[in-house]
C-alpha cells in the first residue's frame, strides 16, 4: 500500500503540473493584401433574446443595440494581366466581382439597451452574451438583401474610381466591366 502511494504521488503531481501549463505566446501573422474598398455601410441592429427555459422561475430578457460597419470592394490581387486590354487610347479593364472586405462591430458600439433578470434566475453569463451577439453578427453576414445592395454600390463606385484613374493616365475611351457579366 505504502509502495503504491510512493509511486502514485509523483504521478499525480506530474499530471497536475502539465495540466496547468500556461501558453504565453500569442498567435500572430501578417498578410499582404490589395483590397480596394469603395463603399461603407453603417448598419444599426437590435438584437433581443428572451430566455424561455425555466420560465416558471421568472423572466430573463436582454436587448442590445449594435452599430456595425461594412466595407465592400474589389480584391485587386485577383486582377491579372489578361483582365486589361489596351488599344491605343482605348482601354478595357475587367474587374473581379466586388465582395465584402470588412465587417466591423466595435465593442463600444454594442450597447446594452435593456436587461431583465428575475430574482430566481441567474444573470446572463458572458458566454451567453457572446452567443447572442455572435448570432446578431451572423445575421448581418447572411443578410442577402444587404449584401446585394452593398455589392451593387461597390461596383458602381469601383467603376467610377477606375474611370477617373484611367482618364488621369491619358485614356479617353474607357470600359470598365466585371467578371461574370
Amino acid at each position: 500500500m505504502k509502495r503504491s502511494i510512493f509511486w502514485l504521488l509523483p504521478m499525480v503531481l506530474l499530471l497536475s503540473c502539465t495540466g496547468c501549463k500556461k501558453e504565453e505566446q500569442n498567435i500572430k501573422y501578417k498578410i499582404k493584401k490589395a483590397e480596394l474598398g469603395t463603399v461603407e455601410y453603417t448598419v444599426r441592429q437590435i438584437i433581443r433574446n428572451s430566455d424561455e427555459s425555466w420560465k416558471f422561475f421568472g423572466d430573463r430578457k436582454v436587448l442590445f443595440s449594435v452599430k456595425a460597419t461594412l466595407k465592400a470592394g474589389i480584391d485587386l490581387d485577383k486582377l491579372s494581366e489578361e483582365d486589361i486590354e489596351v488599344r491605343g487610347s482605348q482601354i478595357k479593364i475587367t474587374l473581379p466581382q466586388p465582395e465584402i472586405v470588412a465587417l466591423n462591430i466595435k465593442p463600444d458600439d454594442i450597447k446594452l439597451a435593456y436587461s431583465k433578470v428575475s430574482a430566481l434566475r441567474t444573470e446572463y453569463s458572458q458566454k451567453e452574451i457572446d452567443e447572442i451577439l455572435t448570432a446578431g453578427e451572423r445575421s448581418i453576414r447572411e443578410d442577402e438583401s444587404l449584401r446585394s445592395s452593398i455589392v451593387d454600390d461597390a461596383k458602381a463606385n469601383a467603376r467610377e474610381f477606375f474611370e477617373i484613374l484611367l482618364r488621369a493616365s491619358g485614356y479617353n475611351d474607357i470600359e470598365v466591366a466585371f467578371e461574370d457579366e
Partner: protein, 301 residues
C-alpha cells in the same frame, strides 16, 4: 359443510385463488391430519355413506375431517381472514407505491419534456437591421495583421477572487486613403503618383472573435467592454510594433506600380507622404517614401 363454508368464504371475499391457496394449506395442516386419525373406526354402511359423500366433495377436501370442531373452524376462519387481510394490505401498499412511482415518473418526464421544448424556444430573435449611412470610400488596404491574444482580470469579492479570461482574435487592416492620392502624368507613358501616409483602416474585433474562457461570478457588460477594448488596443500596438505600417507602405507602392504598369505606363514613380506633424513643425523638406521603378519593357499589353 366445509365446502359450503369455503364457497361462502370465497363469495364473501370474491377471490377464488386466495381461497384455493388456503385450502391447499389446510390439506397439509398437521392438526387436520391429527383429527382425522383420532376418528373412531366406521361401520360398513357408514363407510359406504362416507364413500358416497367423499365422491361428491373435491379431491383437495378429501383429506379433511368430515365434522371439524367449531373451535378449529373459527380459528381457521380467523386465520384465513387475517391472511387475506394482510395480503390485501400488502397488495394495497404495492399498488400505492406503484401509483406514487408512476406519478413521480410522469412529473419527471413532464419537466424534461418542458425543458426540451423550452430549449427549442430559447431563440435569439434579431430585428432586421437598418442601413443608416452609405459612404463612398476609396480605401486601398495593403496589409493585414492578425493576432490572437488573451486578456484576463481578477477582482476580490467577499473573501474570494473572481476571474475573467477572454481570448480575443483581432485583425488590423492597414492601407491608404486613395481620395488623398494625386497623380501627375509626366509623359504619355510615365506617371508620378503621390500616396498619403499609410493609416490604420480598421481594427476588427467582432463578437465572434471573442471567446470567454473563464468567468467567475457576474461581470458587468461595461466591465467586459473595457477588457475587450484593452485587447483591441493591445493587438493594435503589437501590430504597429511588428512593422505593419512599413509593410503596408512597401506593398502599397509595389501594387500601385504593378497596376499602372498593367494599364500601359512604362515608368511609374510612387511617393508616399510621411505623417505630417514633426516634419511640418520642424520645417524639414519632404523626403521619404519615393520609389522610382525602372522602366518595364513589356508593360503594355
Amino acid at each position: 359443510m366445509e365446502e359450503e363454508y369455503n364457497q361462502a368464504n370465497c363469495m364473501e371475499h370474491g377471490n377464488e385463488d386466495e381461497h384455493k391457496i388456503e385450502v391447499v394449506g389446510e390439506s397439509t395442516n398437521p392438526e387436520g391430519d391429527k383429527s382425522s386419525s383420532e376418528e373412531p373406526p366406521q361401520s360398513e354402511p357408514e363407510q359406504k355413506d362416507a364413500a358416497k359423500q367423499s365422491s361428491k366433495i373435491p379431491h383437495s377436501a378429501e383429506s379433511q375431517p368430515e365434522e371439524p370442531k367449531d373451535e378449529d373452524n373459527s380459528e381457521r376462519k380467523g386465520n384465513l381472514l387475517t391472511s387475506i387481510g394482510s395480503l390485501l394490505k400488502g397488495a394495497n401498499q404495492l399498488v400505492r407505491t406503484l401509483i406514487i412511482l408512476a406519478v413521480v415518473a410522469l412529473v419527471a418526464w413532464g419537466i424534461i419534456a418542458w425543458q426540451q421544448r423550452a430549449k427549442h424556444k430559447k431563440v435569439v430573435r434579431t430585428i432586421t437591421q437598418t442601413v443608416v449611412e452609405v459612404k463612398k470610400i476609396k480605401e486601398f488596404c495593403t496589409a493585414n495583421y492578425y493576432e490572437e491574444t488573451v486578456v484576463s482580470a481578477t477582482r476580490k469579492k467577499f473573501m474570494k477572487s473572481e476571474d475573467l479570461a477572454i481570448i480575443a482574435k483581432g485583425t488590423v487592416r492597414v492601407g491608404f486613403d486613395l481620395s488623398k492620392m494625386t497623380t501627375l502624368l509626366t509623359s504619355d507613358t510615365s506617371i508620378v503618383i503621390t500616396l498619403p501616409p499609410p493609416m490604420v483602416l480598421d481594427v476588427i474585433t467582432n463578437p465572434s472573435d471573442f471567446e470567454t474562457f473563464q468567468e467567475d461570478g457576474h461581470w458587468d457588460h461595461k466591465e467586459v467592454t473595457t477588457y475587450k477594448n484593452l485587447a483591441r488596443s493591445m493587438i493594435l500596438s503589437h501590430a504597429k510594433a511588428d512593422g505593419i505600417m512599413e509593410d503596408a507602405e512597401e506593398y502599397g507602392i509595389e501594387k500601385m506600380t504593378e497596376l499602372f504598369h498593367r494599364v500601359g505606363m512604362k515608368q511609374v514613380t510612387v511617393h508616399v507622404k510621411k505623417p505630417e506633424p514633426a516634419r511640418v513643425e520642424s520645417g524639414v523638406p519632404f523626403q521619404g517614401g519615393a520609389l522610382t521603378v525602372p522602366e518595364k519593357q513589356d508593360a503594355a499589353i
